[in-house]
């Protein structure tokens, strides 16, 4: 499939706001028009081609267009923020707010992403080949509802507060998750295949946090509900395996888990499920 290619000329000295550079917004524009698009870099506004070499094919159809961002940098913020359709493939790292408030389409990052990736995301898919920073799938600062739909997968580790205020959707983490994972969760699903930090599920009201391995300790405000075979788990594993090879091991997972309910400290009825073989 042909793609519009943006190749970063050199790592920017200041942060670059990539918001608005998504397939739908650039659809129908000739390469020269794309090259002239304004981009905020620090306190300046530059032409896109001052930072990127613009090549490839212009996007003809807004719903199936593809953008490739090559030689990417962790200083490129808001990549895919608010995008509604199409695909953005990032070769390298991405900065903060990657896929923030995304409403559709697919965003793939081969490297790592910064803080607040997928925050307030509504639909679509974000797949990260490396690690993710803090507040993955959380709420935008000042808001009280986090990610509310879609699927986010991270092949590496995620920072603190992943899924903070999560409302709906799936966060899939193949590596480790930092402290306060699923804090203040409203609903939704988090899967962590690696290790997990402290204070998991702090203040969660509903939702599911599924752990392949038990944490060192749980908050005292989670109550043991015993071991069970839960029939929704095979459906969840099937869906999660679609996120890529990092989650292939789910094929061998059974449906038996130990269920902890909480956070009772806030009257919550969420659950932490710990896999039992």
């Amino acid at each position: 499939m042909s793609a519009l290619v943006l190749t970063l000329r050199e790592p920017p000295r200041q942060r670059v706001d990539m918001a608005g550079l998504d397939p739908r917004a650039l659809a129908g524009r000739r390469l020269a028009e794309v090259a002239a698009a304004p981009v905020a870099c620090g306190n300046r506004t530059l032409r896109l081609d001052a930072l990127f070499e613009v090549s490839g094919d212009p996007i003809a159809t807004p719903d199936s267009g593809e953008i490739e961002i090559r030689n990417a940098s962790s200083r490129l913020d808001h990549i895919g923020a608010g995008m509604r359709a199409g695909t953005i493939a990032v070769a390298g790292d991405a900065g903060a707010y990657c896929g923030a408030a995304m409403k559709g389409g697919i965003l793939r990052v081969s490297g790592s992403v910064g803080a607040f990736a997928a925050c307030a995301m509504e639909s679509g898919g974000i797949h990260v080949g490396g690690d993710a920073g803090a507040f993955l799938g959380a709420a935008l600062p000042g808001e009280r509802v986090g990610m509310r739909g879609g699927v986010v997968s991270v092949a590496g580790n995620v920072g603190a507060r992943a899924g903070d205020h999560l409302r709906r959707g799936m966060l899939l983490v193949a590596g480790n998750a930092g402290p306060y994972c699923g804090s203040r969760m409203i609903a939704g699903t988090i899967l962590v295949l690696g290790g997990i930090g402290d204070f998991i599920g702090f203040g969660m009201k509903r939702g599911t946090i599924l752990l392949a391995a038990g944490p060192a300790r749980l908050l005292a405000t989670f109550n043991d509900c015993g071991s069970h075979d839960l029939q929704f788990l095979p459906l969840m594993y099937d869906k999660a395996r679609e996120a890529g090879p990092a989650f292939a091991e789910l094929a061998g997972f059974g449906s038996r888990v130990r269920r902890w309910a909480g956070d009772r400290g806030v009257g919550g009825q969420g659950e932490i499920l710990i896999r039992e073989s």
């Binding site: 599911t208 029939q231 659950e271």
Partner: protein
């Protein structure tokens, strides 16, 4: 037309439009899946008094079900989407949710939803949990053996009800044997059910009655004991008639089932006591689908 000594009447089965849905029931074992499916499709032989017509389409192996367990596909048919919705919900709640280890899923996709878990969830009394995977929502309802997992909605489709065959035999035992053989063959066709006991009905009906309160009454033209009293369609040698009613998701499925049934009956032949095959033709009073026996067999 005569096949292997069996006379095939030049007539047609008259069928009518219905609304239908397919549901998939799973359980820890095939036996428990079948218990739930049997309960759900019980007392569902005819819309005349049961509210719906239902049957087990077939057993499902683990690889065919959403949760990877053994299961059963059931089909339910009713005269309207509203009635189908009521029947599905009542039967799901009383027959499937109650059955140990069961889970319930939609077996069709479409644009016309009927409630499943979206209503049954309230049984969870606030402890129910919603899970959304992709475009589907599931409800986890706490029950005494764990959780009842139920998809949010099922989907209905236009369907065909009332396809039928009449087996005319020289002895009752011969009619029963032929009906059993035919039903066995028809059950191999996807998308159809034969809703009566064992797939067979002996009290075939005609439209209307001398009693004003009844919409249907005994099909006297095919009752062997009335040969001397009514305008009978039976020759003197006919001693028993059995009917197989077929409901299908499509008219093609109904026709395929009728063909499979007729072929199976004809294979038994006149030597087995089978005199002929006919069909319930109500002169156009019943429905818009006409399944001509000769055309189906040719």
């Amino acid at each position: 037309m005569i096949v292997n000594g069996v006379a095939i009447d030049d007539t047609f089965a008259e069928a009518f439009g219905m609304k239908a849905t397919r549901l998939v029931i799973t359980a820890d074992t095939p036996a428990w899946a079948m218990h739930a499916a049997t309960a759900m499709t019980g007392f569902a032989t005819s819309v005349i008094a049961c509210g719906c017509e239902a049957g087990i389409e077939r057993a499902l192996v683990p690889g065919e079900t959403p949760d990877g367990r053994p299961g059963a596909a059931v089909l339910l048919f009713a005269m309207s989407g509203t009635e189908l919705g009521k029947q599905v919900l009542n039967r799901a709640g009383q027959c499937v949710m109650t059955s140990p280890t069961s889970a319930l899923f939609a077996g069709l996709v479409g644009d016309d939803p009927i409630k499943l878990g979206s209503s049954l969830r309230f049984f969870g009394d606030g402890f129910q949990i919603s899970k959304v995977f992709g475009a589907k929502r599931y409800w986890r309802i706490p029950v005494m053996d764990g959780e009842f997992l139920c998809e949010d909605y099922a989907y209905l489709t236009k369907a065909v009800g009332g396809g039928n065959l009449l087996i005319l035999a020289r002895a009752r035992a011969a009619a029963v044997a032929a009906a059993e053989r035919a039903v066995e063959a028809m059950r191999k066709i996807e998308g159809v059910i034969m809703p009566f006991p064992g797939g067979v009905v002996r009290s075939g009906s005609k439209v209307g009655s001398k009693y004003k309160s009844l919409i249907a009454s005994s099909n006297d033209a095919f009752c062997p004991t009335l040969k001397g009293l009514t305008e009978s369609k039976l020759t003197p040698d006919i001693e028993a008639v059995l009917e197989i009613v077929i409901d299908g998701l499509t008219s093609d499925a109904v026709a395929a089932a009728m063909k499979a049934g007729m072929v199976a009956i004809c294979e038994m032949g006149a030597e087995a006591g089978i005199a002929g095959i006919s069909a319930g033709n109500y002169g156009g009073k019943l429905g818009q689908f006409n399944f001509h026996l000769h055309r189906i067999l040719s």
